[in-house]
Symmetry: C2
Subunit: 252 residues, 2 copies
DNA sequence: CGAACTGTTGACCGAGCTCAAAGCAAGTGG
DNA sequence: CCACTTGCTTTGAGCTCGGTCAACAGTTCG
């Protein structure tokens, strides 16, 4: 059985998160340029659940990270010992943007589950950015999207009730799961919650008690099935109405 | 009186906010390179108080802005009609970072006082970034600082009481005023408040009532003198203690 | 099986919001 | 110069949402 021999492996980096940044430079069958090397020579790192990737005030080691698999939470310390979760990050997300080209990290990152992260040294990044104009644009766009995302999250934390925040959070997790599946199952209302209730609370500026309370209410009403680290949402439409504040949020 | 004739005006752009980005390429008496041109050929814009620089969903026009003089507030619309102030920006600050290389603005910017802003078209920026490696780094650093700043602000809005937020805000305005004066008057405890009480409230995720109430308390206690658009803080040390939550925040 | 941890639920309480009224400053027109 | 308007600020009274504290249930791991 003579299989056709492939002249150039088109995409070793097809599933690579750097893809979006480095694909532009090789429009079609062009020879793989030098810059493509990072995609091939990736150095990756494995973390088990609970292990820190970096902590606050750690040296940045002049590198950042891209999550290939697993979930990571990015957090800061609140005055009172409680922690303030900046973001939950999944596969494809970049880590270390908040301290780019700066000596120390201003946040900490810890694995929620077993993770694989790709290491991206600054030199690789700058080389890419300098040699290839459009990549600088793409990277700037990603940074600005991060700014915009944080602005939206900050906005959500004001003028919204606990229930609204929880509903929005669930929807966010839901469409995140949907995007990962490539919309293959658009009607599968399953969302993963790899983080603890306390983590959810710290993300939404609530207490674990309150999160638990409202989740119970949703469960009692049938808007949410099952309870622990995964959840199915049979009525996303209703959740959307809750998130928008169209329902007065009765306790029971 | 024969004044010595200056051979080359060293820095036409000395007071220019782009300075930090473009100074590196001309270490010393080097001839002014082409890239320096933007500094000289700046197109600037004047706004009177209350005038919008851009609104949400406006076209970005592929340009961003740097404030040369005046104060601008950057805000988004909250669901309930109230507005959520992202940041107050003064001279030297960049505007439009949250929608960089994207078609539409995700926030609105309005002048609080008479302003002068410098227009920076994307092409200038990309030209600068592409030609000069260190500028890309500086720019990325600024973007990442913006991310970090928003993270800190979001962190402040949790686990802090109304009084703490107000104290922190006043201190922030104070050191901002100090920085503008180049620390010429380090002991001059004067801060400008070019925004309304409602704006302060929207920035701190409070109500105008609450802001007014606590400012009154501070005034009654003598930690704060005068009231309207400017304010003097005779006891910054006490404010710092309040901001840190070391004082139980008694109403009176 | 017990220990330690996470999640759930209840009772109470307080910080800040809502609603409302009055005080003040700046502008307008007679 | 003053009556009138308009918008911002201040202040009061009551109420509500979510936090605090605490007890209990369920899970994981030795």
């Amino acid at each position: 059985m003579a299989m056709p021999q492939i002249a150039v492996r088109r995409h070793d980096c097809h599933g690579c998160p750097l893809h979006a940044l480095c694909i532009d430079e090789a429009p079609a069958g062009a020879a793989l340029p030098v810059q493509r090397q990072p995609c091939l020579a990736q150095r990756s790192l494995r973390l088990s659940a609970g292990e820190h990737l970096f902590r606050v005030a750690d040296d940045t080691a002049r590198q950042l990270y891209v999550i290939r698999a697993g979930d990571i939470k990015l957090y800061q310390h609140g005055r009172d010992g409680g922690q303030h979760i900046v973001e939950f990050l999944g596969p494809g997300a970049w880590l270390g943007l908040e301290s780019l080209f700066q000596p120390q990290h201003t946040a900490a990152a810890v694995a929620l589950s077993a993770c694989e992260v790709v290491v991206v040294p600054y030199p690789w990044l700058t080389a890419l950015l300098d040699r290839q104009p459009r990549s600088a644009e793409a990277f700037a766009q990603m940074l600005s999207a991060t700014v915009a995302r944080h602005q939206r999250h900050a906005a959500m934390l004001r003028h919204t009730t606990a229930l609204q925040r929880i509903a929005q959070f669930l929807l966010q997790r839901l469409e995140l799961a949907g995007a990962a599946q490539g919309d293959a199952t658009p009607a599968a209302p399953r969302a993963s919650l790899p983080m603890s209730r306390q983590d959810i609370a710290d993300y939404l500026a609530l207490t674990a008690s309150t999160v638990s309370r409202w989740l119970s209410v949703l469960r009692r009403r049938g808007w949410l099935v099952s309870g622990q680290r995964g959840v199915t949402l049979p009525a996303p439409a209703m959740l959307r109405r809750l998130a928008a504040g169209e329902v007065p949020a009765e306790p029971d």
